[in-house]
Amino acid sequence: MMAAGCGARQPQRPSARPAVAPRPASVAMQLERLGALHASRLSFARSLIRRMMKDRWQICCLRFDLDDHGYGTCVYRIRTPESTYSFVVFSQYLEDERRSDRVIADAWDCACALVEGELDDRRLHELQAQVPRQEAGRFGPDVLVLSRANRSMRNFQAVVDALAEGRQPQPRQLTEVGYLYRTTAVYGNGKFGIADYPKLRDRQDLGAPFAAQLFAVYLLRDFSIRQVEHIARRRAHETAVRLACPLRRYLGIGNSTGLGMAPFLITHPLLIAQWVLMRETAIARCLAQPATAACRQRLLELIDRAIQHSRETRVADDAQGKRNRLLAAELGAARAWLADANGDAGHWQDRCRLAEQRWSLETEEMLHTLILELYPEQVDELEMFMGIAEGIDLVPHMEAAELRRLIESSYAWALAIDFGRPQAEYFFWYKSAKKEEPRLGVRGEETGADRELPLDIGRRVQHCHETLVDFLTTCQDRASVAEFLLLHPEQRGIVRRVQNMAGTVMGEIRANLLHRDMLPMHLLRCKLSFFGATKFDPRSSRWVRITLFQGAPLVEDIDTPFADDWALPPAPDPQPSP
């Protein structure tokens, strides 16, 4: 059963004024704001769970051949209304010193794959030979997702110990780290020979962006719980207990992400612009709703939950810790202000203006995220538009003068960057020969600037503009872009990008990614928030640990009533009943 939103419960009053417009790109596409986004109803993890629960996917663990230490093979079968899939996990011993979250690691506690169809022994044997090798392996198009994960050193053994001793782990421990395993890469879309995304794109079950990857992560969460219970049972058959349901639901799955994710946001500009547009559309729709007493009450409950969730988020990074404390404090102020508000409903837009004026970006965006929870009927349908055809083509007959106008109107932010200042070109992006890991170097100090990745959109646009202005002073009237590119073929890539992005509502992420003060973390958080990540725990400015699916329904919850209200879960009661 899907929860009805406030809008569905309350009689709809026609709005006395026009709908609220989405925020402009100059606001929504600022990197700092994108780096303050939170997971929401539109995040892919939420959409996936909605789909799974609505269509009652049948998930069955067919094989669980693990030894006393939890090493071995596990196979799941998944039946959706559309297809059958298998998920296979190979768990193996790993020396502590080899355990690394970096892409450059070459061994993991477990490796897994989501595969089309059912597995026979021959295919399972083939997968066993390749899946643990990850990037070094070679795969066929029946493999949809490839991933690997490492155990949480803080949690895994402690949870096994507690269960073996017949007690439940302390929820406090799970607030420190809300998972047993942390994935370090989740590959889809044709990597290492696996299935291309278009193979899945039109499917109802796994066709949404990143749905297959997130589903693999979700299944790994189930495996992690089964595995600790299994090890505890094998160690102390007489005393071992199962993990209590509230704790199982509270366990998510971790993920460690580094700079590898950052280039995606720049190399898929149409997709990112679409994601932000849908989020902004959802916010605008919800802000246009009347802030009725029932909605205000529901929002108070959600704010309370968010405050607790924020207080229970433990991070290593001081700056993020301060932001989390500020978020909790400002949400407290928002709560007091909302509770004191008079009876006049008004619209959320008027009320949220205060958030913009008074509070941090984290708080402002959290309030937006919470308001989205009030109106599923306004928000959830937008998930259908999170995908987009990404093909872009040059428009060769466009007049060069028109191209100049496009740059000046859509890329004014880029033209305003002062690249004469040394800090403006401080960094360069490159790929390391070691597993092609994306990295950041300091220009003039480190080697590799001659092989810089073209992620410097602002600088390239500015250079293109300068070249174009020169060209226009000497060319014939009405010269075309094709003629411009004949003389300046090096501008081809950026011209095509400008022509296509200028036609989008949101356009580019507005930031100079070379600047000394640029925080790659903002890029990572932006993408991860759309995935549905919570508990952002930056380990440096360049990599972050997050949690996915914390609070989500368990496999055994499928086919039971579902309220779609699992986000921002508070820690369970210290002594939950089994």
Binding site: S432, R492, S541
Partner: protein
């Protein structure tokens, strides 16, 4: 070896970059590689040759163009069609947008068969596109590929062959002619060049779509040497690791 479409595209783009092609050319090469694989997998060999050719040169040559009464002439100055094909297609299209039809002769151009992939791109822009080139055999032959735009979706691709024309342009083996035109009259105009040729293959739109879908579903069979060459070239853009870059570059160091 069998690769996914995304692997082919990504590696094409990186290899073109590593091979010294102008920014953006790689992305279009990535696009045409899939079409070439769907139309005639043998043409993928031309990508290999084009990458080798491009990487053996200091960089793209400054192409020049001129007009004669009937056509635009682009001098590729010895570049591969892999390097100059995008530029040629754009110049042709910009003329065709203005006049309804256009002809472009590209001189001193290698791996001319790659222009077939660009013809598919031109057709996606709504023009019928013909590629016409002469090749050495005994006796010399003229070969043509025609991408018939459907106005929406995927074009049809016709290929044909005939005796080499007398007093030909392109007897040097380095010239290729491209024509683009809109609508039925445009197609009729292009077909004038087609007369006297024997069709060798016709792939209609649904068949081409089915082949593309198949490529998405099961991948593409790629010659090993092409895969190896692309990996080799794309590696030119990678930066060797040092202990410092390993530690700092991806943020292992605490903030």
């Amino acid at each position: 070896m069998r690769v996914s479409c995304n692997e082919l595209s990504t590696l094409c783009a990186r290899a073109a970059q590593g091979g010294g092609c102008a920014d953006g050319v790689g992305d279009e090469l990535a696009e045409i590689a899939t079409w070439l694989a769907c139309c005639d997998p043998a043409t993928l060999g031309a990508i290999h040759d084009g990458l080798v050719h491009a990487s053996s040169r200091a960089g793209p040559s400054p192409a020049t163009y001129d007009y004669d009464p009937d056509s635009t002439i682009l001098d590729a100055a010895g570049d591969s069609a892999l390097q100059c094909g995008s530029m040629a297609a754009d110049l042709l299209c910009s003329r065709a947008y203005r006049d309804g039809h256009a002809t472009l002769v590209v001189r001193r151009c290698h791996q001319r068969v790659l222009m077939v992939g660009h013809a598919m791109r031109i057709a996606a822009r709504g023009f019928h596109a013909l590629v016409d080139w002469r090749y050495d055999s005994a006796p010399p032959k003229q070969r043509q590929a025609l991408a018939v735009s459907s106005g929406h979706g995927v074009a049809e691709l016709w290929t044909a062959e005939g005796p080499a024309r007398e007093n030909p342009t392109g007897a040097d083996g380095l010239t290729v002619t491209l024509c683009a035109a809109r609508g039925e009259p445009g197609l009729a105009r292009i077909m004038d060049r087609w007369s006297g040729f024997s069709e060798t293959q016709t792939i209609d739109g649904p068949t081409l779509l089915a082949r593309r879908d198949e490529a998405w579903n099961i991948g593409i069979e790629l010659p090993d040497d092409l895969w190896r060459k692309m990996r080799e070239l794309s590696a030119a853009m990678l930066v060797e690791e040092s202990e410092e870059s390993r530690r700092r570059g991806a943020g292992e160091q605490a903030p």
